[in-house]
Amino acid sequence: MSIQGQPPPRIAQRFLRWFCKPELLEEIEGDIEEDYYYRQQDKGKNYAAFWYCIDVVRFLKPFAVKSFVKTQTFNPMFSINSKLAFRNLAKNKLYSFINITGLAIGIAACLIITQYVLFQLSFDRFHSKSDRIYRVLTTAYQNGEYGNTGLYCGFALAPALLKDVPEIEQAARVHPYYGGAIVQRTGQKGGVRPFFEEEVLFTEPSFFSIFSFELLQGDAHTALSSPNAVVITQKIADKYFGSSHDAIIGQSLRINGGYTNEEFTITGILKDVPANSHLNFDILLPLQKVLQSNQYTQPGADWGWTNFFVYALLNPQVTEQQAEQKIANLMHQYRAEELESSGTREVLSLEPILDVHLQSSIDNEDGEQANKTDMGTIYFLIVIALFILVIAWINFINLSTAKATERGVEVGIKKAMGAIRPQLIAQFLTESFWINLIAVALGLAITYLLLPIMGEVIDLPLELTWNAPVIQILLLTLIVVGPVLAGLYPAFILSAYRSVNALKSQKSGGQKDRFAVRKALVVFQFVVSTLLMAGTFAVSKQLRYMENRDTGFQMDQVLVIKGPRVGVSLENFEAFKNQVKSIATVESFASSRSIPGAGYSFATNARREDTEQSAVKRIDATWIDKGFMETYGMELISGRDFSDAYDSPDEMDRNGVLVSEEALKVFGLGTAEEALEKRLIISGDTSLIRGVVKDHNWKSLHKGYVASAFYYIPATTRYFSLKINSQNTKATLEQIEEKYHEAFPGNPLEFFFMDDFFNRQYEQDQQFASIFNAFAGFAIFAACLGLFGLASYTVVQKAKEIGIRKVLGAGSLQITLLFSKRYMVLILIANLLAVPLAYLAIHKWLQNFAFSIPIRANLFIVPIVILAAIALLTISFQTLKASFSNPVKNLRSE
């Protein structure tokens, strides 16, 4: 045979020669090349060259790759380096402690945040088809202007989707059990305690084929197909039947509420809904049951009652855009007339369920029961985690380089004995590796202990998960990259010592530059610390502000009872009302359809009587009775409230509506006095304005004042509010409970205090604040540890200087000031840099709130002063110690 064609690609050949074991090279190279020439003959040059490269890369296997480490010197070097590292750690116990703890805390903080972020990102991913499940959203435009985006729709939508859009494989309607239900086990002798359940949903069988909620007992296909079936979670099974779940299927529960009042047979037991599900429920009832109710069998109910929401499963090969195009105008296909006459345009869209938790585009917050943390917070936390890690590494770098002078002698001797620089670098890197490894282990331990506690604080089930790839990669990075990143700079600095200089004197060239780097790093640490500290301060101030701000209601000492569901009549309502009012400590009583903090009862369109149809604006409304304004201490600006009878021949006029001040502006009603006697057309009905209520915060302070209306209702059992005038709430409560059970037997008493309830709206903010506080604490602690270490080393280095100064007559105070000064200057610089950044960040955050604290100077001054004080304390601990020391001790040892 003779050489034919081209020689193999040079680069691949050289690469092979470089990495391959010399003893194997000849046969391997020969074999690959032989194949190469055959291929060249058969399939041409390029094909052969390509496969030549692939073949070479394939030989990157342990058996064929030569050892790049010179084993003879490496192994002993590594072990002697490790030995030296441990000796060094043991020798400087304080230094090692500070170094390792600082790093460990940084790592722990980073891990904890990662866990939290992972949890937030894991929402709804447990469904096996999660990438194909969408929520159908409706965006309404009023006369071409954007109105709102919501998920509620009529029950006719899902069948229409399935019929007209083949891209949608399955759809499931969900109807919440509004107002909750009283659930009681039946078929038991004696009294069985009823419970009030809120997380109840009506849905259809396709629910189980779309979602992956696991049915432990029962059949997913048939569990919801009969109208009197009920599926419960394990939690509910435990609650009503005890821990043994063997004979539960077939038993029945009586479910009483606004939609049902009958027995249901249990057909399935579900595993509890995971905490990372946006959809939360304890009990599932068949949708056909609720569709049979009067409300939904009226004409026009199919699109008119928008109490449902729809989940859709797309076909695997369909994209979101394709399906969205098809559905966008579906509403107009079915309801053209109705929509056109009111000038509304409704566009349907799809929202991936993976976006629901963090990036939902819904903007009517009333319907959403899931807790929302938005994506911004997640990014923010990731940044904080990185900052803390960087602070910890900076500590490490600072402390290591600060020790340079001491280690200089060691380096000098080693160099004099013939050590070369790579060997020294290897030594310091080994040291860095061990410190990092210990810190990672300690950090893991801290995380393991702290995570459940943190989880409890923020009310999330957090625990250390090893199997998440992100955590594994993070740990690997911390162990492998960390030491190199943090150890490289000190290693180069330390190994750069000129042996003569190092041996000759303690001071060596380049000291100044190194100190500059160290200064910059300290400044950076304190910039971050100041930022976090100012942030913490602003967050807690805003929270306190929100909790204490006058909302327009008097909420302390108001007790709210969730009204009865079973056996309610006007007589026993009146009886209860009179009984309760007769209790001496109950000042007033009110019943209403909603209460502050619970949202309005509905939102609808309204306009002034004398304006065009197209002038409609949004108005929120609910129903209250005569006692409501008094109980909540609401202020009436003009007109009469409902307790003040109004004479009019027209019944509608006699009741009228109360509107908020904001509504005057929105609907152009003029002043509070002028507005009286004017009429608003709300949802098609004309209502006379009988009074104007001062603006109030019915919802959290995130939202501004809204145009709202109060309708009159003589009695309702949704919420009872009682103003209590007593320090002894317990006794009053007992009395109320007794009367309640007397008037409404069979109803569990559920109550809460209004101020607690209202402030529960800030749970998310509080969660944010507690996470923020914890990590600001972490960062400050780590930064101070670093400062402490640095100060202690400076003091040791300058022991002689201090001694001489003392001998020459300097006082302790002077010396302390002298040594604190340089660090205080650094902190001052850090503060100057941090303040504008903090200002921007706080300003941005406060924009989340309609009512926020003003950004004043003391928002920055207080944290800066506190931080400076902490820093000063840290430093003076060392400097004071030095200044009190006996100068003879330090000067003698020349």
Binding site: M1, G30, D31, E34, D35, K61
Partner: protein, 113 residues
């Protein structure tokens, strides 16, 4: 050591070396296995197996002639050593014992359901 136990692929390589005797070297072994089993084996897997086999002492090798098609590199010919033969025999005996131990009924599985 795990003794002379052979991995499935190693057994295949070892057998192929026997088949190709005395012309067994990397490329020919690879081609033969591809031809006989239809598996997409690569040179590197074959070399890996050869390396293991040689370490276990089941094959021995020597350099042969250099050819121009190999860019002047010598081939390395592999032959089975006596312990290689023993290992093959043992494997075969184990298989046969197992085969014989299977009750007749077990092999009469109906493939249709």
């Amino acid at each position: 050591m795990k003794g002379t136990n052979l991995g499935e692929f190693q057994e295949l390589v070892l057998l192929t070396i026997g088949v190709l005797y005395p012309e067994a070297y990397g490329v020919s072994i690879k081609d033969e296995i591809r031809k006989k089993t239809g598996r997409k084996v690569t040179l590197s897997t074959v070399h890996g197996a050869l390396n293991r086999l040689e370490k276990k002492g089941l094959v021995s090798s020597e350099f042969g002639e250099a050819t121009s098609i190999r860019g002047g590199k010598r081939k390395r010919y592999f032959t089975i050593t006596s312990s290689g033969v023993k290992a093959l025999e043992e494997t075969r005996e184990q298989r046969e014992e197992l085969w014989n131990a299977i009750p007749q009924q077990a092999l009469q599985v109906k493939l249709t359901t």
